[in-house]
């Protein structure tokens, strides 16, 4: 059979696949304004030499073994569209949407391809040009992702009745009976993600003075989901900073970093939030702007290159001031911890901390200094837990596969505590632990450090009988 016939036979088998004939030599590069790839950093495409050394770092490739779900394949798909060799087909779109944007491939890539600068604008363009009705009228996306999550006050208000139900034990009863699954799609998953009820504590004051010798003036970034759901982590963080001689300012008027909007196809909404933060933080007053959650930190550090308008230089200056709190303390030299914490712990790298910000050794170095702590290295520590921002809501199947993989790795260390520095990971791993009925404690590293400075003991939870068995088996 000649090549043409063979091609046709493929097409006839799949009439929906509007993939054009492909030629490796033909390079027309018709990337006009209409091209989905118009906004991507084309030079990054050229940097990829197709060596494939990235594939094993990619969570979705590890799970599926398919090049289409690996960075090299995705870059090839984007390049086909960018070069005008084919339109985006539904299958291609699916593979690109399955990407977690964890950017582990950037850490692995020896050629330094900045994959985030390819996939992010490309997916934004897909979202923006998606004319399908269900996308246009996606109440979940508009109502919850874009208008609830990024606003800590609204979120806290909505969470209040839920917390009440949790405290009364009604939610766990419903969860045990599997009734949460009755909630429609993503809403049901969202309900499963909610952390256990803890007292949120009061709002952080505008200023918290340094304890002892003053070593730095820092501004603290509070964020949205992180503040609504993990305020105790914020309190722990600022106390640790105070102990380390930092005057901590918490500027009013700051809000969400914009990552949720940006990653859900609303770059303008993201810019509005970013610019509110530019106003809120007076750069010259502080030595650094500190963030304690990896996802927010990565976004803030990238303010300089997401939008191109008159404010860009200012945004770039802002981005230069942003430091992850572990990175900052590690550089500053941490004041010795006081209390012993006799537990075994393992540290999971948040993707946006380790891959996007390249902060991997600092948290480990800090934790290693806590007296009594038995820190065990987690196998596949840098592989995504499946949270991926809002990925656990949009790609539930893959997300679940990855969080199970993560839990198995955690259990293999035999640790009693899992530490991770990102809201999404905390929620995801907590849910996985809760559903398995394990007694594992999931915490932010700052909480452990805070306990040590305060000389308090860590109280470990007991798991269910089923959970205990699981921990013993592994």
């Amino acid at each position: 059979m000649n090549r043409r016939k063979w091609w046709d036979s493929l097409h006839s088998a799949h009439p929906t696949d509007n993939f054009m004939n492909f030629s490796s030599q033909d390079n027309t590069n018709e990337s006009g304004e209409d091209n989905l790839a118009a906004g991507i950093a084309y030079d990054q495409l050229l940097r990829c030499v197709h060596c494939g050394l990235c594939t094993s770092s990619c969570p979705t490739y590890l799970e599926t073994g398919d090049e289409n779900n690996g960075p090299r394949g995705r870059i090839q798909l984007i390049r086909l569209v960018a070069d005008g060799r084919t339109d985006l087909t539904d299958r291609m779109r699916h593979h690109l949407e399955l990407c977690l944007d964890c950017r582990a491939c950037e850490t692995a890539c020896p050629s330094g391809v900045q994959y985030g600068r390819l996939i992010e604008p490309f997916r934004q363009a897909i979202e923006a040009k998606d004319t399908r009705l269900e996308k246009r009228w996606d109440i979940f996306r508009r109502g919850i992702l874009l208008n609830l999550f990024p606003y800590a006050d609204r979120l806290r208000y909505v969470l209040r009745p839920m917390r009440m139900l949790q405290r009364l034990g009604i939610v766990s009863a419903i969860e045990r009976l599997g009734l949460l699954k009755l909630l429609p799609g993503r809403l049901g998953r969202l309900a499963q993600m909610l952390p256990s009820p803890t007292r949120p504590g009061p709002r952080l004051p505008k200023f918290l003075p340094a304890v002892g010798r003053k070593r730095a003036r820092v501004a603290f970034f509070v964020g949205c989901v992180a503040d609504a759901m993990f305020r105790p982590v914020h309190w722990a963080t600022v106390r640790v900073l105070q102990q380390n001689g930092c005057d901590v300012f918490v500027p009013r008027g700051q809000g969400c970093c914009g990552a949720i909007h940006l990653h859900n196809g609303d770059p303008l909404g993201a810019r509005r939030l970013a610019d509110a933060n530019l106003v809120a933080f007076e750069l010259d007053r502080y030595d650094a702007i500190l963030v304690n959650h990896g996802g927010c930190g990565a976004m803030l550090k990238e303010y300089g290159h997401h939008w191109h308008d008159g404010l860009q230089p200012h945004r770039a200056r802002f981005a230069d001031k942003v430091k992850d709190v572990h990175e900052f303390l590690d550089n500053l030299g941490v004041v010795p911890f006081s209390g012993r914490i006799e537990v075994s712990a393992t540290y999971h790298d948040s993707c946006h901390l380790t891959h996007a910000q390249r902060v991997a050794s600092a948290p480990r170095r800090l934790l290693a200094k806590i007296p009594g702590l038995d820190l065990r290295e987690l196998p596949e520590a840098g592989i995504c837990c499946g949270a991926g921002g809002t990925y656990n809501l949009t790609e539930p199947e893959m997300s679940d596969q990855l969080s199970r993989r993560k839990l198995d790795n955690i259990l293999s260390t035999g640790a009693q505590v899992v530490l991770t520095a990102n809201a999404g990971c905390l929620l995801q791993i907590q849910r996985e632990v809760r559903q398995a009925g394990l007694g594992l404690q999931v915490m932010h590293p700052m909480e452990l450090m805070d306990l040590s400075y305060r000389g308090e003991k860590l109280e470990l939870k007991a798991g269910s009988e089923k959970g205990k068995m699981k921990m013993n088996v592994s």
């Binding site: 059979m1 090549r3 063979w6 091609w7 036979s9 493929l10 097409h11 006839s12 088998a13 799949h14 696949d17 993939f19 492909f22 490796s24 030599q25 390079n27 050229l46 940097r47 990829c48 030499v49 197709h50 060596c51 494939g52 050394l53 990235c54 594939t55 094993s56 073994g65 398919d66 090049e67 289409n68 090299r72 394949g73 090839q76 798909l77 086909l80 084919t86 087909t89 299958r91 291609m92 593979h95 692995a108 890539c109 020896p110 050629s111 330094g112 391809v113 196998p379």
Partner: protein, 461 residues
């Protein structure tokens, strides 16, 4: 039977989620890390067992369409580029370590297990899997067997074939065979024949891998030289002194620029070449051996000789060496990496010739080399969009390999022949040699069903 029917048959055999047949999903399988030649396959399948591999092979054989096995697709010679109208059998979903038996120093693995995955699984046991190609974090053990992969430490420990005790394979007719793992003088050692056959004799579905005891101690040094000539003279002398380092690697200035940009290794800018030398073995005597090596290097005026003092420093050195090729993207949008071998005494000669050839064809060439093995990896920088440059690079590449043959070496040490070097086989081997190889091939795969058009030209075509 039409292609549609074949695809239906494959879907029935493997379940639909393990078969790709939509053109826009097939396109990413059009090549491996050798990007100069590409073909979109007819279908891509992900079997999960030898039985499924056999079913696929039989279905394709009935249909008269060729198959090619693929691991991680990091091959550099086009070994798993699909033949036209071919089906790609991707083995990445067969990725389980089935058994580790430390008392026998052996592990049973599926072909999709990553090289490093096995070594990681052995951490704490005092054993490792010795072949360590630069792509070991990504490349599969099945792929290592197919190309008989090497790596820096094969200088002392030998290439993949030395670490394979047995194989389970599927032949072109769909039969499943097992060679080894027990050493049996009564049998022909067919596992060794399959190693390095680049998927042209059989598809490997299980590997009994030999495990190697970790050395008690090691010393790793980095020495800089004012010229690549001096560095390669030092290599020749170390080998001539009867010393077998665990690894003896060379990088020239060009590749160092890329490595510095990627990993900030800290090599002084005036250094024209760097040797990475690793010695391992029992702690006793290792330091005096190191002194001996350093003294030999001193004969060739090294700029600085630094020893890795911590495991982290050693790791950085190796990371720089192993990721060097991938870092070439910082120098150029594309490249072609060559894999020639020369007798070690001819290293200075081949590097001089490479420079001349680069100048002649107006192609920039940077060098890494497993120098201790006489294995050179000139990397030719190109841009696929520039056809003239690509053609010149191909010509230069060919000339380098011809020079290797003239020196008494070979056209490949570890990457394989693939489609890239198939033309040179006739230069390297006498017709009688090629006929013998062809007859072996026919014995395994009479219909030339498995990976045709690779390694040796299929004479029956």
């Amino acid at each position: 039977m039409s292609n549609t029917e074949l695809i239906r048959k494959l879907r029935a055999a493997l379940k639909p989620e393990n078969v790709l047949s939509v053109p826009s999903e097939l396109v990413v399988y059009d090549c491996d890390a050798f990007t100069v030649e590409r073909h979109i396959p007819l279908a891509v399948v992900f079997p999960r067992s030898a039985v499924q591999v056999a079913e696929v092979v039989r279905a394709c054989s009935d249909h008269g369409c060729p198959v090619v096995a693929r691991g991680a697709g990091t091959g550099l010679a086009g070994g798993c580029t699909p033949p036209p109208n071919g089906v790609v059998i991707v083995l990445t979903r067969m990725n389980k370590i089935l058994d580790i038996r430390l008392r026998d120093a052996m592990a049973l693995v599926e072909p999709g297990v990553l090289n490093l995955q096995l070594t990681n699984a052995l951490s704490g046991t005092g054993y490792h899997f010795a072949p360590d190609p630069s792509s070991q974090g990504t490349a599969t053990i099945g792929g290592n067997v197919a190309t008989n992969a090497g790596g820096p430490h094969t200088l002392k420990y030998g290439v993949t074939v030395n670490h394979v005790a047995g194989l389970e394979v599927v032949l072109g007719d769909g039969s499943i065979l097992q060679f080894g793992p027990v050493e049996d003088p009564a049998a022909l050692d067919l596992a060794r024949v399959v190693c390095g056959s680049e998927g042209t004799l059989a598809i490997v579905t299980k590997i009994w891998a030999k495990l190697t005891k970790n050395p008690q101690a090691c010393r790793t040094i980095r020495a800089t030289f004012a010229s690549i000539d001096d560095a390669s003279q030092a290599v020749s002398q170390i080998i001539a002194a009867g010393i077998v380092p665990a690894a003896l690697e060379l990088m020239d200035r060009g590749i160092l620029d890329a490595v510095e940009a990627a990993f900030a290794l800290g090599v002084p800018p005036e250094a024209a070449a760097v040797l990475i030398i690793e010695l391992d073995g029992p702690e006793a005597g290792l330091d005096s051996l190191l002194e001996q090596v350093i003294a030999l290097c001193r004969n060739w005026n090294p700029g600085e000789v630094l020893q890795a003092k911590t495991p982290a420093e050693r790791e950085l050195l190796w990371k720089c060496r192993k990721m060097a090729v991938g870092a070439v993207g910082r120098l150029s949008p594309g490249y072609m990496i060559q894999d020639g071998v020369v007798p070690r005494t001819r290293l200075p000669h081949i590097f001089r010739r490479i420079l001349e050839i680069a100048a002649k064809h107006r192609v920039r060439i940077v060098n890494v080399a497993h120098a201790g093995d006489g294995n050179v990896h000139p990397i030719l920088l190109l841009d696929e969009r520039d056809r003239d440059l690509t053609a010149r690079a191909k010509a230069a590449s060919r000339e380098v390999l011809e020079e290797c043959i003239t020196c008494g070496g070979s056209i490949t040490a570890e990457h394989g022949v693939g489609i890239e070097k198939i033309e040179l086989m006739e230069k390297l081997f006498a017709p009688a040699d090629l006929r013998a190889m062809h007859r072996v091939r026919q014995a395994f795969d009479p219909a030339s069903q498995l990976n045709p058009g690779k390694k040796y030209k299929t004479i029956c075509q």
